[in-house]
């Protein structure tokens, strides 16, 4: 076994993560890239491992990207988003209510209860709550937040929190629910949300989701090869298609960071990251 393979960190939010990265390891091996991966139970541990140099690349949630970027800034280093899925770009979250219920507009949520996902979920909590704050409704002050805190540390990757939130809405335990648009579609398709049971009150601006993050002064040759192989993957190739279907995209795209401004403003608004990023930076100094 090679002692210095490119080491990637990923968070084990679901058992399929092993299947995914075993598949990628096999593919990269055929393409001449020595590759291995480490699974973490939460993004905070992965972000710290990246900052400490234990891994070369982190498959980061948008929140983990911001954590990495801010820690790098405190350390005088630079974090770079090198690659992302086509499905990571231009997402929106929605705030939905029961069709035929008492809520007709966002303002009607005042004094009511809104269900969200895990407290560290960008798509089901931080971004939609920030959007409501921008609309003049401050969480906890102007409306009650009903938190479905599934698997904290996994930044909302686990779908369970959003499913619980919409179920609470359908049951009448709350008057609004926050989720990503793709899960709204999924819940409608799988029947969690019967057709016509909810309608959209508000849609957030677009934002980006995961990326492969490196924290080096310059990319090593193995990271460059890793990125090149990802960008070269074609959905036409049946071996590649199997992996892409597991992970979700139709193709990989170069990383970009302009899609994280909305989340950045949200975490600043809620003061969510400061304590963690300062502590990690102190330990890595």
């Amino acid at each position: 076994m090679n002692q210095n393979p490119l080491l990637l960190g990923a968070v084990a939010y679901d058992p399929k993560v092993v299947t995914i990265w075993d598949g990628f390891q096999n593919y990269f091996d055929k393409c001449g890239l020595e590759f291995d991966y480490v699974l973490y139970t939460n993004y905070e541990r992965q972000v710290e491992a990246l900052a400490a140099g234990h891994i070369h690349v982190a498959w980061n949630s948008p929140l983990a990207w911001l954590q990495s970027e801010r820690i790098a800034g405190k350390l005088g280093r630079r974090a770079e988003a090198i690659c992302m899925r086509d499905t990571d770009r231009d997402l929106v979250s929605v705030i939905v209510t029961r069709e035929g219920g008492p809520v007709r507009s966002v303002n009607d949520l005042k004094g009511r209860r809104v269900a969200v996902g895990a407290k560290d979920s960008p798509q089901a909590t931080l971004i939609p709550l920030y959007h409501l704050a921008q609309c003049g409704l401050e969480p906890k002050r102007d409306f009650e937040v009903l938190l479905f805190d599934r698997l904290v540390g996994k930044h909302g990757d686990h779908i369970g929190g959003e499913r619980d939130a919409v179920r609470a809405l359908v049951r009448g335990d709350c008057d609004g629910a926050c989720l990503i648009d793709s899960n709204l579609l999924l819940f409608a398709q799988e029947g969690t949300l019967p057709a016509g049971s909810v309608r959209t009150l508000a849609t957030t601006p677009e934002y980006d989701h995961c990326n492969f993050t490196v924290m080096e002064s310059r990319m090593s040759s193995s990271v460059e090869l890793f990125r090149k192989l990802l960008l070269g993957m074609s959905y036409e190739d049946p071996d590649v298609r199997r992996l892409l279907d597991l992970e979700g995209p139709k193709r990989w795209l170069p990383g970009r960071t302009q899609g994280y401004h909305l989340l950045s403003r949200a975490v600043d608004h809620f003061g969510y990251l400061d304590e963690f990023t300062a502590a990690v930076a102190a330990r890595c100094t």
Binding site: D86, D90, L185, G196, T203, K250
Partner: protein, 398 residues
């Protein structure tokens, strides 16, 4: 291209109309979608992202409107797909000489996505399996299925002498274990057969179902007047074990269908002729009709296999010799079965009748031999080889 979903919700059927429009569009072409449902663009945006299409010209104000630029993913998925032969076996090249293991369980003629898992069907050579008659024989077999509950006069009144009933129970016991072998052997090969050879697979499945019915009716006849079955001998089971253990499809089909079931045809018609009661006559007649089809298929596919691969003849001959050698020290047909056949043919314990019964069984054995030889000659074995092979066939009949 433009479609209007009117009041139809995207997640409540509207997606079908959008997909249909995109199928008709070229990659890169824009399909515009309009609709009156206020959430239309919310769902469209999410759906386009997961399907690899681009969403443009989104108008969220009141009436939904968006342009979808068709992405290449759907074409990319199917551009390397392969058609697994042709459905109609009469089309030239429809049945592959050696179908891909990646065609797996797909129906013959289906378009199979590249990257489908590789299966491991050991029987994947057309030459070893295929018969041009398989489709016709399957249709015939499917049409000839009978219902054990109604095809046999179970309620017919009869009362046989104790020893005649004993003889019937013993013969039925013998038939049951032989039919069990005839069920197990094709069943084992069905699971190994590439489903590309659909008609053969179906035919063997019906054959197994036939044997299941035979086991049922023979058991039911044995227990009609008794609580238990008769004797099962070590020699009889040793003979059948050589069939069950035979790993080669051609050899197993030859030993079971051509030689074994061929011999059984004579036995079943003999039992139908000398049956002392209407139930025995019916179950033997029904089983014989089915067995005739099994023999016909064995003959058909082995004739084609031997034409394609003449060296198989030597292999089959050696198999008969080896089986004979391995059974040389066993008893063959158990005496209880032989005696029961004599008594059934005699119809009484009268000396003259028993003598005639013995003659009838001797005639049966000669007819079995000549029947086997006739089938072997049809498979183009020489007269001398056919004579030798038939003579070496197991004394247990199957």
């Amino acid at each position: 291209m433009h479609i209007d979903l009117e009041d139809l919700r995207f997640e409540h059927g509207g997606a079908l109309l959008v997909k249909r429009a995109l199928r008709l569009a070229a990659v890169g072409e824009t399909v515009t979608v309009a609709g009156r449902h206020p959430d239309l663009t919310v769902y469209l945006r999410a759906w386009c992202r997961t399907e690899g299409h681009k969403l443009r010209q989104v108008d969220d104000s009141g009436t939904g409107y968006a342009g979808i630029v068709r992405g290449p993913a759907a074409d990319q998925r199917w551009c390397t797909a392969e058609r697994a032969g042709r459905a109609d076996p009469r089309v030239i090249g429809a049945v592959s000489d050696r179908p891909s293991q990646r065609w797996g369980l797909a129906g013959r003629g289906a378009l199979v996505e590249a990257g489908s898992p590789e299966f491991h069907f050991a029987l994947d050579r057309k030459m070893e399996i295929w018969s041009g008659d398989a489709a016709r024989m399957y249709a015939q077999a499917a049409a000839a299925q009978w219902d054990p509950a109604t095809a046999v006069p179970w309620e017919a009144a009869f009362d046989l002498p104790v020893e005649v009933e004993d003889a019937i129970v013993q013969v039925m016991t013998y038939l049951i274990e032989n039919e069990t072998a005839a069920l197990v052997v094709p069943s084992r090969f069905i699971a190994q057969m590439h489903p590309h050879f659909r008609e053969v697979m179906q035919l063997l499945a019906v054959q197994a179902a036939d044997e299941a019915r035979h086991i049922e009716v023979f058991t039911r006849r044995a227990l009609l007047k008794r609580k238990e079955l008769g004797l099962s001998t070590a020699g009889g089971q040793a003979s059948l074990q050589t069939l069950v253990d035979e790993p080669n499809f051609a050899i197993a089909a030859f030993l079971l269908s051509v030689l074994g079931e061929g011999t059984f045809l004579n036995l079943l018609w003999f039992l139908e002729r000398f049956a002392p009661d209407p139930v025995t006559a019916a179950v033997c007649r029904l089983a014989a009709q089915d067995e005739a089809r099994h023999v016909a298929f064995g003959m058909s596919h082995l004739r084609e296999h031997l034409e394609a691969s003449p060296s198989l003849a030597g292999t089959l001959m050696n198999a008969v010799r080896q089986r004979h050698e391995s059974l040389r020290h066993t008893a063959g047909l158990n005496t209880e079965v032989f005696d029961a056949l004599v008594l059934l043919a005699a119809g009484s314990w009268d000396c003259a009748d028993i003598g005639r019964g013995h003659d009838a069984v001797s005639t049966l054995v000669r007819e079995m031999h000549s029947g086997r030889k006739r089938r072997l000659l049809k498979l183009r074995f020489s007269d001398a080889d056919a004579e030798e092979m038939s003579a070496l066939h197991t004394r247990n009949f199957m």
